[in-house]
Amino acid sequence: MYAYDELDRTLINERVSEFRDQVKRRLSGELTEDEFKMLRLQNGVYLQLHAYMFRVAIPYGTLSSKQLRALARIARRYDRGYGHFTTRQNIQFNWIKLAELPDALADLAEVGIHAMQTSGNNMRNVTSDQWAGVAPGEVEDPRIWSEILRQHTTLHPEFSFLPRKFKIAITASEHDRAAIKIHDIGLRLLKNADGETGFEVLVGGGLGRTPFIGKTIKPFVHGRDILSYVEAILRVYNQYGRRDNIYKARIKILVHELGIEKFSREVEEEWKLMGDVGLTLDHSVVEEVRSRFSYPAYEKLPHMPDELKQAAHDPLFERWRKNSVFPHKVQGYSIVTLSLKPVGGPPGDATADQMDAVADLADKYSFGEIRVGHEQNLCLPHVAKRDLPLLWKALDRIGLATPNVNLVTDIIACPGLDYCSLANARSIPIAQELTRRFANHDTADLIGRLHINISGCINACGHHHVGHIGILGVEKNGEEFYQITIGGRADEGAQMGTLIGPAIPYAEVADVIEDIVEAYLALRDRPEELFVDTVKRLGVEPFKERVYATR
């Protein structure tokens, strides 16, 4: 966990007072909506279909149990008793009242949480690997660098009025769980030949109506230079990024139009011109930030405790353990994913009671720490293996032990037309129907790893382009239709999926996905061949034939 200092606390509290005054002036008519809109967006407040939506930042997806309880209180006191975890490790509340928002922000400030830069054309919440600091083989904890970037960019005037929103993700593992290749800037932590810490820097990734995979702009930037190099990229973007057309304003368009070589030259020139602007990170600065992260006092525990050996006889426990429990860097401990994808439930939602219960379980079994992953699940990062059987039972009692992590029902979905004012079609009911179709866990196990991503419009909040199966809602003559892509992936081998054919109506989506999955089971050359690898080997044609032959 990162401990905020006095400066952070003052900044957050001042922001609450400022927003309280702004809301008061808005409600009295002193501020018009045109004047107020940017101010509310800078505090994470959107207007959606039914109400205001309030997006709260969870920097690099790390929460303390105290903070999670505060989020539960917000859900209970100011909303309808639940919240929605997003694909950028944030949480959204869908029914908040503008008049009560300052109080909600004040409650959050008490535990060091805020909503700054969760919206607007600025640097958004820096995201990272939900296993940061505990993943075996990690170069080092990427949250140190996420926090440095967060501190530098928060309320930075030069980054507060960018041409468009700007998203950075950082990973420090070979397997990319932070989806860095679909971010405006993706940072991969690595060591050079001299053992020095630095970053491979990628730029220009993103989804939306014009999707691009990020390109490497510099294979190694020393850690001490990362702030100045990122700033050089942002300066070039700020200068040349298009402000005349919202659809062409993201950095990915600039990188695409200039070409990565020219863009790279521009950044290098800017970087040189900047010279020493005080952004070089002294070792002591990095160590100061590092020192504010606390790590558990792990016990020396056996690799295979008796409790785990005994529990292994229970097939239900074993099923859950196999897809929800992951290796930890410390012997005797595990990382546990808590599925927020119950059969028939809205993906990523958690009730206030569930949040409170998870906070209690985190205190009991995970040193009071919780993580949020971009897959819209939670994670307990430090669970002793001996405690896994008891934890599993406790999670099962609160509906958070669905054994479907990384399987076909672990669906990523945006809020869609049930909530979102931008959506053309619904996402959540499609996800719910699919979880019912594939509710049999034996079938899901047989299918193996398969990521379905659903977006209710081209803005792609459900990351449909990079789903193994991507589902995009569109509108045709007032009706909901869905385009299906297959073969996408968001990890280190990130690529966009390929469209299989014409859009299909709402009522047929679940049937079509079943057809695609059945085709895969018939086509894979061995049970271990993942869906996405079968698509890579055979292309989309066999799947297309299966879907459209009878339609």
Partner: protein
Amino acid sequence: MTSPLEQKKIKLTGPSMVTANRTWDGVVIYRTAQQGWSANLADAAVVRTSDEARALLAESIADDVGAIGAYIAPVDVKDGGKIAPGNLREHIRSEGLTIDLLPVPA
């Protein structure tokens, strides 16, 4: 169901109303014929021409303190004059979510 946020011209395809969200709490509201707002769709003023719609929208937008994000949306006028939402978006705004939520204790 093109987003009303992308609405550029006023071109009616049938009977329409003006809807918005109430400023202080965000609740869905409808412009009434009495130049006020109601949370009940049945109270909405129905317009049938572009000029009527333009006028209704203009007076709705003028109430910047009371409402936010006013736009024109289609309605179905049933036999007997009962008003129903004219598309899925408005159905969801009027009737609520189409999904099952996680059970939340009362």
